[in-house]
């Protein structure tokens, strides 16, 4: 890994200060229809994959989106890149509404929003050379950089830390980490302003993962590209993103700057999530295991999500109100600016799990009793 990447001079985005909202998402919904019925097939229900979320990504910032599997992270990403047609809500990019824009209308901003994918194997066409893969987007958008596309591709390869001589190779000749770099180079080819990265490192080994995270970080900081960084690994998101949103079952339940979310989470789910991450305590061997909040059961089905607060079925603080009323995403007292939480009974702003919060699986509780008895 080169320590100093050769990058073109940072462009305006990096300098004009984070703050300008680049992407504004309001009330975004995506419901996948379920076909069924008898005797004629019709829509009988919907997977409420994304159910009304609001997000703002500012220019040049990295915005993290975390949550458990199936909570709608990828769907959100794909809605924003307009791979999917939103059911309702609005997406506006630099003030322009692109919610239902067609391919032709999107053409001018296609080059500004790019995507990096999770699977380094399926995200590269096995039948194209690296050169073709990276120059593809330029070709499509008719971009003819000075010095020709090939030169630009070689530059890009260099930027992502690959040998420019690999221009004529095929994807299968690369390791997972290298493929992911090719994916990054492809995304960079159009000099985008926003990159949606859908779990770009979760398929990689730890040692490789760090290489890619570093690369992305450099790209973000030095080229001033904004990121919507989707991941389920809280530690990676913490490392990469300045602001973080936590999703649960198609909804954003908490959003805020990194500091605030990781050290002063207010939503019980965020608490649970943070405490569930297994951690190596490198320093204090005697400290033993940190107490954890254990959530029972699994995420409910997005086809028929619980009423009111969606987390209530697994929440140890749930009361009748939670079932009746959906908590709005608001700033709670004691929270920083921009730290919004959707909870009727928020936690204290700490990450320590308290004794009374620790709930066990009923079965586990029984087991533990068993063990203690003899």
């Amino acid at each position: 890994m080169k320590e100093d990447l050769v990058l073109p001079a940072p462009r305006e985005a990096a300098t004009d200060g984070a703050g300008e909202p680049l992407l504004v998402v309001e009330g975004l919904r995506k419901h996948f229809p379920i076909k069924g019925g008898f005797p004629i097939r019709r829509t009988v229900g919907a997977v409420q994959a994304v159910d009304g979320i609001d997000l703002t990504v500012r220019a040049g910032e990295s915005f993290g989106l975390v949550g458990e599997s199936g909570c709608g992270k990828s769907t959100t990403g794909r809605l924003i890149t307009r791979l999917l047609e939103p059911t309702s809500g609005t997406i506006s990019y630099r003030g322009k509404d692109i919610t239902h824009a067609g391919r032709k209308q999107l053409a001018p901003i296609r080059s500004e929003i790019q995507m990096i994918f999770q699977d380094p194997y399926s995200s590269l066409n096995p039948r194209q050379t690296v050169g073709k893969i990276i120059s593809g987007p330029m070709e499509i958008n008719g971009i003819e950089p000075t010095g020709g596309r090939e030169k630009r591709v070689r530059e890009l390869l260099e930027i992502v830390g690959l040998n420019p001589e690999h221009y004529n190779r095929f994807p299968h000749e690369f390791s997972g980490g290298q493929r992911q770099r090719i994916g990054v180079a492809r995304a960079l080819a159009l000099e985008p302003k926003l990159i949606v990265a859908d779990e770009p490192v979760s398929a990689l080994d730890v040692s490789i993962q760090a290489q890619v995270v570093n690369l992305l970080q450099k790209v973000q900081q030095e080229l001033g590209i904004a990121f919507l960084f989707i991941a389920h690994d809280l530690a990676v998101v913490r490392h990469f993103s300045q602001r973080v949103a936590v999703m649960y079952l198609g909804k954003v339940i908490e959003v805020g700057d990194r500091e605030s979310i990781y050290t002063r989470p207010r939503h019980p789910y965020t608490h649970a999530l943070l405490s569930a991450v297994p951690e190596v305590n490198l320093h204090d061997e005697e400290a033993g295991r940190r107490e954890r909040i254990r959530l029972a059961g699994d995420v409910p089905s997005p086809i028929s999500p619980p009423s009111g607060c969606r987390f209530r079925t697994r929440c140890w603080k749930a009361q009748d109100k939670c079932a009746a009323q959906e908590p709005p995403l608001v700033r709670l007292s004691g929270n920083r600016d921009g730290h919004l939480t959707a909870c009727h009974f928020p936690e204290d702003p700490t990450i320590e799990g308290r004794e009374e919060d620790i709930v066990l699986d009923p079965a586990l509780a029984a087991l533990e009793e068993d063990i203690e008895r003899p």
């Binding site: 458990e68 730890v206 760090a210 290489q211 999530l273 569930a276 991450v277 190596v280 063990i371």
Partner: protein, 353 residues
């Protein structure tokens, strides 16, 4: 092509406490493209009731090692050399029928992907009951009851009914619980868990880890816990073995390996791993390069092409000579013990914050 130096001081087989001991294990596969040396000179011991964590990158031979213990490779394409002693009994040369008696009974296994690892055609209860019938000679009814009981034990609500379900009717976490129930149904002495939580969400992973911990206390089995997540292993293991390219490169208690690691690869792992409490101002320090191909493994120390401390060894030893792994607390590296200590304390530790 590669000069392989046999490990000088492999742990002696006479080690009385060892419940399972693996000696100089080599496993290679014949493939279209050549011979893949998936495990190359691996030795370790495991005591009763203890948990051995095996960490390593993808393709480092973790799964192969453990499948070999159970003799689950097709003999036609696989060559196994070395010894695997379970309670002093040699397994590599054991007859299939003897292995059958062991599998699921004394030694049980949990696989990584519970969806593909459970048969879609039979009910969960039946799949759990089968080994119980086979090994314990239980009647169908008794085995079914046992299966329901086990499902209850692993925390599946309403086990009586759910036992009649098929795996695809279970959620990911429940499937993994069912796998665990299946593995534990005959009260095994050794449980091999091959990345049992990798496919799961953190919250579910935490549930499963707790479950395994508690079950181990109840059943008293020894566990081999395979993972690539150091955080998980810190939670689970008594001892840790770090594998790289088919061999072990460091071994010790959890405390030793995590808090005073001695091998550049382990350092690299720790350095490249983002943690919730790590210093945000410092960038992650990845291990450069990519894991080697097992078809043409690097000569000498397998790690040398990616190692940043090679120059400190001096000479060409890293390239020509494969470092041995001493018994007990050990690391397979040509750096001197002193060098290792100082490098860790002075260069690595500060970066870990």
């Amino acid at each position: 092509m590669t000069t392989v130096t046999k490990e000088a001081g492999a742990p002696s087989p006479a080690d009385a406490g060892a419940f399972l001991s693996v000696r100089d294990l080599h496993v290679s596969f014949k493939t279209e493209d050549g011979i893949v040396r998936a495990v190359d000179g691996l030795s370790f011991d495991l005591e009763r009731g203890k948990t051995l964590g095996i960490v390593g990158e993808s393709g480092s031979g973790k799964s192969v090692t453990n499948l070999t213990i159970l003799g689950l490779h097709s003999p036609k394409f696989t060559t196994v050399e070395g010894e695997i002693l379970l309670e002093g009994k040699e397994l590599t040369t054991a007859r299939e029928s003897e292995l059958e008696k062991l599998r699921g009974n004394k030694v049980a296994m949990i696989f990584q992907d519970p969806l593909t690892a459970l048969s879609p055609y039979y009910t969960v209860g039946r799949q759990i009951a089968e080994p119980f019938m086979k090994h314990m000679g239980a009647s169908k009814k008794a085995a079914w009851e046992r299966a329901v009981e086990m499902l209850g034990k692993v925390g599946i609500p309403n086990p009586k009914e759910r036992a009649k379900d098929y795996p695809h009717q279970f959620s990911g976490g429940m499937r993994q619980r069912a796998m665990i129930a299946m593995a534990l149904v005959c009260d095994p002495d050794l449980l091999i868990a091959d990345e049992p939580t990798t496919a799961l969400d953190v919250t579910v992973q935490a549930q499963i880890l707790d479950l395994l911990n508690d079950l181990q206390q109840e059943f008293g089995s020894a566990i081999i816990f395979i993972t690539h997540d150091l955080g998980v292993i810190a939670d689970m293991a008594d001892d840790i073995m770090v594998m790289y390219a088919g061999g072990a490169i460091e071994r010790g208690t959890t405390n030793q390996v995590l808090r005073s690691p001695q091998h550049p690869y382990t350092w690299g792992l720790l350095n490249s791993m983002p943690r919730l409490d790590s210093d945000l101002s410092a960038a992650l320090a990845p291990i450069p390069g990519a894991p080697p191909s097992l078809l043409t493994p690097p000569s000498g120390c397998r790690f040398h092409p990616r190692c940043t401390f090679q120059d400190r060894v001096g000479g060409n030893r890293c390239v020509t000579e494969r470092p041995p792994l001493a018994p007990d607390r050990a690391s397979a590296c040509h750096l001197t013990a002193e060098q290792k200590r100082t490098i860790f304390v002075e260069e690595i530790k500060p970066r870990l914050g």
